[in-house]
């Protein structure tokens, strides 16, 4: 692999020195473009108390194209599917080279606080979220307890 671009080095340094509250991103020791990410469930959300593992990869043409991000921990959310793929505009058409790993992870954290069932990725989850929000939130809490809380 070619030498690491200055932009990635800078971003990594800042992520380590000034971490974002509730977000932890550490580069893999063998691949500086692969990050092990931990996002804690935001307060006042059904994901509160959960610790969610994600993986983030910076493709060859980063920052011209968006990082690839995926949830590893199972999560009950209308915009995240069974494989952990995330439906988020800034990861797709709204990506801008001036956005950063930091801003993307903040957006993902915000998505946990404000699910958007009108733009669904997991159809069954989104459907329930719209028809019976209380039950959907109960499911999300259950999943958080089951998969995202370490004993």
């Amino acid at each position: 692999m070619s030498s690491l671009p200055r932009r990635i080095i800078k971003e990594t340094q800042r992520l380590m020195q000034e971490p974002v509250p509730g977000i932890n991103a550490i580069p893999d020791e063998n691949n500086a473009r692969y990050f092990h990410v931990i996002v804690t469930g935001p307060n006042d959300s059904p994901f509160e108390g959960g610790v969610f593992k994600l993986e983030l990869f910076l493709p060859e043409d980063y920052p011209m194209s968006a990082p690839k991000v995926r949830f590893i921990t199972k999560i009950y959310h209308p915009n995240i599917d069974r494989l952990g793929r995330i439906c988020l505009d800034v990861l797709k058409d709204k990506w801008s080279p001036a956005l950063q790993i930091r801003t993307i992870l903040l957006s993902i954290q915000a998505l946990l606080s404000a699910p958007n069932p009108d733009d669904p990725l997991a159809n069954d989850v989104a459907e329930l979220w719209k028809v019976n929000e209380a039950e959907a939130i109960r499911n999300a809490r259950e999943w958080t307890q089951k998969y995202a809380v370490e004993d």
Partner: protein, 512 residues
């Protein structure tokens, strides 16, 4: 020898789909008053087939015109024209009314708050429009003396490297990035097929990158070419009077000032299409309806195909019959019974004034029936129209084969010294006319399917039936061409074409 004749025929046949093709006005009645073609022919359509060079010239002329009126860069003129359907007058008018608003909606300038807008004078807007690609660079610091460099070092937020200020470019929004990042970004965007829609790199900023900045920074010839090709496509698509010919690999662009659902035929590849929607020509049905119909057919055709088998039994002697010609007037080879392929009714009733076969009969008690019966009725209705639509489409293809056979027979005749090519030309004219009529007939079925029951539908189905009857007569006569009297055939052609134009005049939704 054979191929020579084929060639000659091909070229002679060119006129068979032409709209101005006129087979009955052959001269003897030239004292008849010349009619305005727009009134006489509901399908009359004026258009030009232009090359890429022609169009580039046409668009450049519009750009230059706006340049001279508003004194702006060609690159921004293009953006403004693109956003306003290439209408110079509208752009100039909007510019004089509120230059700031014009620039914001064309995404040349970022939206401003109301307080800001007041302070943005028309002069400032004009200034923005006049700057060329040099205007995208930050100006050197004023008052710098010989000891301090005119540019200070700054950091690019994309690559995170510090460089001197003269390496930075920004648009009207002021978001500044270094030259290398802009270039790499442009190339990534072009690679994805994006050209004139490339926006500023800053998040949530929707200011557009004009052509001149892209072409200043992108130097690789492949990428420049790609950018220009994509941009040209977008320019043509944004121009209401231009259409790319849908023919495979055809480079022609059709231009017409009449934007309606009429048939344009590419002069190079001969592809015919509806000028408005770009699909196969579909008169008398309009663009939305034909789209709905084709989608429906694509969904339902499997069932329909299954239900309507390819063969039918003779209604009299029940021998199995496969259709081998386009004509729907069948004569059983076994019992010589004449019947209609579509309704299996006796042909005798079809020849009379009131032809019933194309008409779908609604069950008058349908409202009182159960849901199940209603659903079956709906399917039955759809199948009625679908079968006829499909059937005429098949007939068109079969009649193409009839023409081929005719060509071979005539070939033999000419070889044997029985007449010349010219003597037999009328048969090809007749076959061409038959194809044209049947094509229209085919497209009357989706129209009828979506029509609401009422007197207008009755009139439509009456005319459709009339047209259908005459087309079948014509097809019958052409298949037996050698034994048909020339005058009889010409008369039949005349009647069929008149029925077709009458129907189109009354129902083709294009208002002249």
């Amino acid at each position: 020898m054979e191929s020579d004749i084929e060639m000659e025929l091909e070229s002679d046949n060119d006129g068979e789909y032409d709209d101005d093709y006129d087979y009955y006005n052959t001269g003897e009645d030239c004292d008849v008053e010349r009619l305005d073609p727009k009134r006489a022919d509901p399908e009359y359509f004026e258009y030009d087939c232009l090359t890429v060079e022609d169009i580039e010239k046409l668009l450049n002329e519009l750009v230059e015109k706006l340049n001279t009126i508003l004194q702006i860069t060609p690159s921004l003129a293009k953006v403004l024209l693109l956003e306003h359907q290439w209408n110079n007058t509208v752009v100039v008018e909007k510019y004089r009314q509120d230059a700031n608003a014009l620039l914001v909606t064309a995404r040349i300038k970022p939206p401003t708050s109301s307080a800001d807008a007041a302070s943005t004078s028309a002069a400032a807007a004009a200034q923005l429009l006049k700057m060329g690609s040099s205007g995208y660079k930050a100006p050197p610091a004023v008052g710098g003396n010989a000891n301090t460099p005119p540019y200070r070092s700054q950091m690019c937020p994309v690559c995170a490297s510090s460089q001197l200020g003269d390496k930075f470019y920004s648009l009207a929004c002021g978001h500044s990035f270094c030259k290398d990042c802009w270039t790499m970004y442009f190339e990534t965007q072009i690679f994805q097929g994006i050209s004139i829609q490339i926006g500023c790199m800053a998040p949530m900023c929707n200011v557009r990158v004009p052509e001149d900045l892209v072409l200043t920074l992108v130097t690789r010839p492949v990428m420049r070419d790609k950018y220009q090709q994509f941009a040209f496509k977008d320019y043509v698509k944004s121009h209401p009077e231009l259409r790319f010919c849908p023919g495979p690999n055809c480079q022609i662009i059709v231009q017409s000032s009449e934007i309606s659902a009429k048939r344009a035929i590419c002069k190079v590849c001969r592809t015919g299409f509806c000028f408005k929607c770009g699909m196969d020509y579909h008169a008398p049905t309009d663009c939305q309806v034909i789209k709905k119909w084709l989608t429906k057919c694509a969904d339902d055709s499997e069932t329909a195909n299954y239900i309507s088998a390819h063969t039918k039994d003779c209604p009299k002697c029940h021998i199995c019959i496969e259709k081998n010609g386009g004509c729907n007037h069948m004569q059983c080879f076994n019992c010589k019974h004449d019947f209609c392929w579509m309704c299996l009714g006796d042909w005798k009733t079809h020849g009379s004034e009131y032809y019933e076969c194309s008409r779908y009969k609604d069950n008058p008690n349908i409202a009182n029936e159960s849901v199940h019966v209603q659903a079956r009725e709906a399917l039955k209705k759809y199948l009625h129209y679908y079968e006829r639509w499909e059937n005429h489409s098949k007939s068109l293809k079969l009649e193409q084969q009839t023409i081929e056979r005719l060509r071979q027979r005539i070939n033999t005749k000419v070889m044997n010294g029985s007449g010349t090519w010219i003597d037999w030309q009328y048969l090809f004219n007749a076959a061409g006319l038959l194809a044209k009529c049947r094509y229209t007939l085919q497209y009357t079925y989706p129209y009828a399917y979506y029509m609401e029951a009422g007197s207008r539908k009755n009139l439509f189905e009456y005319q459709q039936a009339q047209l259908e009857a005459e087309i079948e007569n014509l097809s019958w006569k052409i298949e037996r061409a050698e034994t048909t009297d020339l005058g009889d055939l010409e008369n039949q052609m005349d009647i069929a074409e008149k029925r077709r134009t009458t129907l189109l005049k009354d129902f083709f939704p294009v208002a002249v």
